[in-house]
């Protein structure tokens, strides 16, 4: 049923339809609304046969999920940013133990400086944690991906992280078609664990594995992720058969058939990019878009074929590797490694900075003129950076940059006010 609904609420209701058995919650913006809504459903009896546990930290949240999953319960939690980092040891552990936990990551920047707004630093920080990472473009997809995530996780015994842009999606109210219970039940069978703590069939889970077998354990995990590349499109097709919706899958292309320039991106920013592309197309530029829905495992083959005819690939990222550059760019470059291509990285939207259609258009225009630097920070206040750099050069105890920049900004504003007066 199509409803105007907050993204978090849509996710929560969909998660509830997946009949989770243990849900653990620790508040952190912008994930909070999701877990609050699930909790309310459990408390009110809408969601039955579910243990909702208020834990004392994200580390505990993931740990509770580990224990529950190892005991055969369908387990779910949600987090963001600092919370993900606080649980990261358990994040690795969950995948190492092959526990099919599903977690919503309401993507948010990582401090310091503390920042509650959206970017993808958190998801990128755990890209090697052994989880499947799916990125939602819209709230509809965010909701739908959770149903697929449980199916995928449990089939492969691999945990799945559904990445949803914080605030931009989680707090946006828009039309979402929430599935009915019968449909979800038909799509998602009860959880049949591959291993379980069972008094009638005892096993030891979580052994110490030394050099003699560790590499094999890791290689097997790699193969399971390869298997996921097969299963994800199949599951998306099955979902499409059920709902008629094109949610999930590995990648989604937009106007790439004859594109010379292709923009590659993750998540909700794809909508803005598509709008900009439409405008540039109207100007006759052959520009297309590739949205990466499945970031881990990385769909190299799909990306490679989607970009096969592009002259220039622009990877727009909401995260970057501080000492190097693009993260997603690296994966794209690896996928194209023996091809002749021109790759540009655009870092944008860090800490929630708005990525406007206009900025993207300007960026695309540069790209059209081969004017885009290999690493570009979109809408960067170059003046503020220069002033801080100067200060650091001249004053040993120049103080924290974040505060300095804010002070500069306030000073600029008051100057502007005075000028205006």
């Amino acid at each position: 049923m199509l409803r105007q609904i907050e993204g978090s609420r849509a996710i929560a209701e969909t998660v509830a339809l997946c009949r989770p058995e243990v849900v653990c919650a620790y508040p952190i913006s912008p994930q909070t609304h999701i877990i609050e809504a699930v909790g309310a459903m459990v408390k009110s009896g809408v969601l039955t046969s579910c243990e909702f546990i208020n834990v004392e930290s994200e580390f505990a949240a993931m740990s509770v999920a580990i224990g529950a999953s190892a005991t055969g319960a369908r387990s779910y939690t949600a987090t963001a940013s600092q919370g993900l980092l606080f649980m990261v040891e358990a994040v690795f552990n969950a995948s190492g133990l092959g526990l099919p936990i599903v977690m919503t990551l309401a993507n948010r920047a990582i401090g310091a400086p503390i920042n509650i707004w959206n970017d993808h630093s958190d998801a990128m920080a755990v890209r090697d944690a052994g989880w499947i990472q799916l990125f939602a473009e819209t709230n509809q997809e965010a909701a739908d991906l959770h149903v697929q995530a449980f199916k995928l996780a449990e089939e492969l015994s691999v945990p799945v992280m559904v990445c949803v842009d914080g605030f931009i999606l989680t707090h946006a109210v828009e039309g979402v078609d929430i599935l009915d219970q019968a449909s979800v039940d038909s799509f998602l069978p009860p959880y049949e664990p591959r291993q379980v703590l069972d008094v009638d069939e005892p096993v030891s889970i979580g052994a110490m594995v030394g050099p003699e077998a560790f590499e094999e354990v890791r290689y097997l995990a790699y193969l399971r992720q390869r298997d996921a590349l097969e299963r994800i499109p199949e599951i998306a097709r099955t979902f499409n058969d059920l709902t008629g919706r094109d949610s999930g899958g590995l990648i989604r292309t937009y106007r790439t058939d004859d594109a010379e320039i292709v923009v590659v991106a993750l998540g909700s920013v794809l909508g803005t990019i598509k709008d900009a592309v439409d405008i540039r197309r109207d100007l006759g530029e052959r520009i297309g878009v590739v949205g990466i829905t499945t970031f881990r495992p990385f769909p190299s083959e799909a990306v490679r074929s989607a970009l096969a005819n592009a002259r220039q690939v622009v990877v727009l990222e909401k995260a970057f590797s501080t000492g190097f550059g693009g993260v997603l760019s690296t994966d794209v470059a690896m996928s194209l490694r023996d091809m002749d291509f021109d790759l540009r990285t655009v870092v944008a939207g860090l800490g929630g900075r708005a990525i406007t259609r206009r900025s993207i258009e300007e960026m695309l225009e540069k790209a059209q003129h081969d004017d885009l630097e290999s690493l570009t920070f979109l809408d960067l206040d170059q003046g503020a950076v220069e002033r801080e750099r100067e200060r650091m050069r001249t004053v040993r105890r120049s103080g924290p940059s974040a505060e300095n920049l804010l002070r500069d900004r306030t000073a600029d504003l008051s100057k502007a006010v005075r000028r205006g007066a």
Partner: protein
């Protein structure tokens, strides 16, 4: 004391078993069909108190629940020596996740069992003192506060033994560890530091908190049984001497645990809902020196550069424990310190 001592038998109250005791009064450990929750072939050091304590506690839990126990284990010696691939020593369902999260994992297991309609299966979580009082403390406090249906057992050997004997918040004053060297004016661990986890647990008002040692099996088993008869968060703190970390003879493990209790340094008691309900009184009181002098971690207090002043400070701690928990029966007081 709430437990009834079995008089009349030469060893009924203290030894593991006795053919003269009624089967109900024998320990689980005296039974040929005990679970042996942790089986032979584990790689614990000779005379390991933790291996012993774990078998004592889990076998008792198995009997108390008719074999319906799953165990969650923190990282540490117990985990490492019991489950190096490709061999496990556990005969019960067992899960190891991380060092600091055993209480939370256990919460998850308990929640899953409840939701799966397997409420008869009970959860025991276990960790060393590091996993309990330090890195797992937050998760443990959370588990306590939520009153999750978990018996958490700390096998306290007073330091990080698995990593090579470093200080934990359970390391006692003056003890030498790799990070509290026996040098300087205040050699070994610093006085006035450390955590008393049983009392912290009691402050959570959870249904049951108890301490025990591997030296009194009857007491330990009775406490496990008591704990398993209850629901909610329960905490058992078991002193398990570590021959390697304490520098004691491998055959002295039980002897030293007994001296810890008999000197008053390790009070053995139980508490329900935050109130002490029973204490194991001292039977043959000994000065702390008897306990300390068997351990090389206290070697710097004796010998050519003896530090009787520090021994006296440790004795004062024992005396405070004795006063706090009333560890000396009036009846036995006259015999005290005669040893």
């Amino acid at each position: 004391m709430t437990d009834q001592r079995v008089h009349f038998y030469q060893v009924g109250s203290f030894a593991v078993g006795n053919r003269l005791l009624s089967p109900d009064d024998r320990t689980v450990q005296s039974q040929r069909d005990r679970t042996n929750s942790i089986d032979s072939g584990h790689r614990a050091c000779q005379g390991c108190g933790e291996a012993l304590g774990a078998r004592y506690a889990l076998d008792a839990a198995m009997r108390a629940t008719n074999g319906r126990v799953v165990a969650v284990n923190a990282t540490g010696c117990l985990e490492v020596f019991s489950t190096p691939y490709p061999e496990t020593s556990w005969r019960i369902p067992w899960l190891h996740s991380l060092f600091g999260n055993a209480p939370a994992v256990a919460t998850g297991v308990a929640a899953a069992l409840r939701v799966k309609g397997k409420g008869d299966v009970r959860v025991v979580a276990q960790a060393g003192d590091g996993g309990t009082v330090d890195i797992g403390f937050g998760a443990l406090s959370g588990m306590f506060e939520r009153n999750d249906d978990v018996l958490f057992i700390c096998y306290d050997n007073e330091g990080y033994m698995n990593t090579g004997v470093q200080r934990s918040a359970a390391t006692p004053p003056a003890a030498r560890t790799a990070t509290t060297d026996a040098v300087g004016p205040e050699p070994g661990n610093i006085f006035g530091t450390g955590k008393d986890l049983p009392r912290i647990a009691m402050a959570h008002d959870i249904p049951y908190v108890a301490t025990a040692t591997v030296a009194d099996l009857h007491d330990l088993e009775r406490k496990v049984e008591r704990a398993m008869a209850m629901h909610g968060a329960r905490y058992l703190h078991v002193l398990v001497p570590c021959p390697l970390g304490w520098g004691s003879a491998s055959n002295d493990t039980i002897h030293i645990a007994r001296l810890a209790k008999e000197s008053g340094l390790f009070p053995v008691f139980e508490a329900e809902h935050g109130k002490v309900t029973s204490v194991s009184t001292i039977r043959r009181r000994v000065p702390v020196e008897q306990y300390l002098s068997l351990q090389r971690r206290y070697g710097h207090l004796f010998g050519s550069n003896a530090r009787p002043d520090i021994v006296a400070r440790i004795q004062a701690i024992a005396d405070e424990n004795i006063a706090r928990y009333a560890l000396i029966d009036d009846a036995t007081e006259s015999q005290e310190m005669s040893a």
